[in-house]
Each structure stands twice: as C-alpha cells, then as structure tokens.
Symmetry: C2
Subunit: 266 residues, 2 copies
Amino acid sequence: MDIEKYIAGKKKVIDKALDRCLPSEKEKPKSIHRAMRYAVFSGGKRIRPVMTIASFEACGGKGASIMPVACAIELIHTYTLIHDDLPCMDNDDYRRGRPSCHKKFSEELALLAGDALLTMGFQLLSDAGNLNILKDISMAIGSRGTIGGQVVDMEEAKKKKRDLDYIAAKKTGALFEVALKAGCMFKGAGKREIDAISDFGKHIGFTFQLIDDLIDKDGYVKVYGKEHVRKMAELLNKRAKSHLSIFGNKANMLSGIADLILERRS
Amino acid sequence: MDIEKYIAGKKKVIDKALDRCLPSEKEKPKSIHRAMRYAVFSGGKRIRPVMTIASFEACGGKGASIMPVACAIELIHTYTLIHDDLPCMDNDDYRRGRPSCHKKFSEELALLAGDALLTMGFQLLSDAGNLNILKDISMAIGSRGTIGGQVVDMEEAKKKKRDLDYIAAKKTGALFEVALKAGCMFKGAGKREIDAISDFGKHIGFTFQLIDDLIDKDGYVKVYGKEHVRKMAELLNKRAKSHLSIFGNKANMLSGIADLILERRS
C-alpha cells in the first residue's frame, strides 16, 4: 500500500475517534470544549498516532482496539502545542496558519484547555487498560522527558552552546519513541520487538528534529551547517530502518513514515 | 486518637513519600525540579491525601501501599494551585505567605512545573496499579470536573448571578470526593462503602467551599449572608457524617476531618 494513502486513511479514523471522545461544544462549560476542539482539529497531520497504529500493526495487531492509545498520544501532543504557544513560552500568535488557541480564545482558556487535553489523554489510557503503557507515557512526557526538553530549550535559547542532543532527545524524541513503543506494547509484543521499535523511534525522532532545524535554519544547522545536517538525517533514517528488519514486510508502513519524515520540506 | 495528632502524623509520612517520589533538585533540568519542590513543600496541610489514607483505613486498609495514591492526589492539587495563581488566571503573587511559584521562578517554569506535577500524579497512579482509580481521578479533574469548575468560576467572576453550586461541586468538590473514593477503592471496598464515602465527600467538599466563602466574604455569603451560610455548613457537616455510620468506629478520623473543615477559620 502507498504510504500517503495509508496515512490519509488512518488520519480519517483518528479524527473520527477524536471527535467521539472529546466533549461536545454544547456541553457545559462550552468555552473550554470549544477551545479543546479548536486545538485538536486544526489541520494536524496526526503523524504520532499514525505511528502508534503502524507499530501496533507491525507487531501483528488488527482492528480498532488501539484507538484510545492513539488518540491519547494526539491529545497529549496537542496539549504541548497549546502550552508552548502561550505568551510566557514561545508567544506564537499562529499555529498552522490559524490563530493559536490563546489568540482565538484567551490565555486562561488556552492554559486550561491544554490541562484538560493532557488529563483526557490519561483518561483514554485508562480506558485502554494497560498500566505499563500509561507509566511509560507519563515518564516520557514529564520533567525527565518532553517537559524537561522544553525547559532546557527555553533556558538555553539565547546561549551560544546549547545542549541540542538533550533537547532533541527529550522535547521531540521522547513522545515519538513512546508513541511507537505504545503500539507494540498494546499488542503484547516481546522485549525484542519493543526494543527494536524504541530504537527506531529514537532515530526518527532525531531525524524529525534535524529536518525541523533545516526548515527553520536553527539548532543543529547553526552549529554544523545544512549540508552536514542533511547527511546526518539521511544516515539516521537508514539506521532507523535497520531496526525494522525483524518485522519483515509488516513494517513497510513504519519504514514509509521514516522516509516521509526525512523528505519533509515544511 | 486525637484528630490533630492523626493528621500531623500522616502529614509527616506524606511529606516523606513526596520527597522520595519527586526528582532531586540536583537532577537536570534543575530549575523545574526546584520549582516543583518549592510548590509541593510550601506548608500545605495535606488535607486531601490525609483523607485518602483515612478512607483507606476506614475500609480496613493498613500500611503504606496507599501512599502512591495519596501522593498523586497532593501533586494534582498542587498543580491546580500553581496554574490558578498564574497571571492569566487569578494573578496571585502570594500563596500561603510565600511568593507564588511564578513569582519565585518565572511564568514559564510555573506553567511547566504544574504540567509536570499533573503528569507525575498520573505516573504515581500507574505505580499504584488500579485502573479504575486512575479513570475516576482523570474524570474528576478534567473539563467536566475541576477544570470545568475553574472555567465557570472565571467566566462568571463579574456576573451577578453565578452558578455557585456548579462551581462548588466541580472546582472544590470533585477532587475532595475522588480523594476519598480512591482510598476506598484501593482497599477493594464494595459499592455500598464507595457510595457512602462519595456522599460524604460531596458534603464535606461543599462544606469546605462554604467555609472558604465565610473566610473570604465571597460567593454564597454574598447571596445568602453569613448567618445562613454558617447554618448550611453545619447542616452539611451533620449530613456528611451520617454517611459514615456503616463504617462504625473505623471512620472516627474521617468524622474528625469533617469537623475540622467546619471549624476552619483561615
């Protein structure tokens, strides 16, 4: 199957599932439910939950049982975007060409909508019924993971020498890795599969960051130059895919996602 | 046993457990771990986690296995305080006589410390290993619970007619109720006990709000006057305790907590 078609198909299923799990805009308090939905349905590519589903399928999983985990990953990703955009953080007025959540609504609603999406992510994970996944995700996105990466990124923003590896591994990589791992764990895969998927996740998370830096002419590009960064990304892509060999053909979609991440231009 | 002694003893145990579960201030990124610890160890009375332990014990529970649940409740409570104090919300410079988290550190660190404490709360709940508790807590503190209450409180702050019952039930009551319920559920108590504890929780949560309003001369006091509000609080206290009868002597500490809440003057 063509990877773009695969992703488009999964995106539809994910969007439907997100629509079902989010409270209606008519439910009290309407304002926060509107803000939550506005942020979730803002044209995101759903790449993280697609990876969760693809890794579930690479391990032999089938059907919709994985959806609560996939949706949780997307809600958590959305919460990080809302909070990152806030005035006290990156102060971004736009997100994907539309006003960011706090611009569209208000700072306080955006703050609380982020809180509520994170909380709902955990609610969905409790529905999914796997405590190990829940624990791994909570660790990946806490002060030793995503949040830690955001803190260091913020604090070192104006420094000449930044701990780019830490920031990449934590701020971007941790959620990528756990999104993939969760799909595997949900299928009940063995340690060998889970470790392979985690290694794959680490490498494509890092690739994603390098491509981000190429697009923004920032981070690694400032230190190593764009030629070198592109070479690094290509190397990481190859190494990422080498970890998929134990899954055979079943990992074709994961492999395709890795290539799309490398080829991303915006 | 004297209730004040009981609470003081439990507070010590809770503080030790919180100290063990929070990352050290020496761990990278130090700033956020300092901010998390500053907010958690700021002289709170630990009334919510004490209630979790007391309800666990009222159901026949013994020992330290309940501590991850109790600590999770306190971390979640602390996260709500940090975010409520932020400039875009209540804009409070002080909390319990000390600079609030964003005043002591920065807005962005306070925001992220709140996020991290909420996340760590769920991590502890996954350690506790009870998915039903996790689900109930996530629902109690989401957009249909604590956060919903905060939204309505904020939006109606300047209105003459405020939905005080909704705000009290959600903003204050939901966490009280689930803190108590969680202790019961963790012991594996039956529906009858869980329902009784939930009813008890609803009533003392409401009492807590009425006493808050008496102290602040706000909310219900503005609508009904302080005499009437005090009478309501006394009545609710009696009704709360009536739900404890099925536990016999084992609920003495819960009953004592209900009285302390009624007698609170600051």
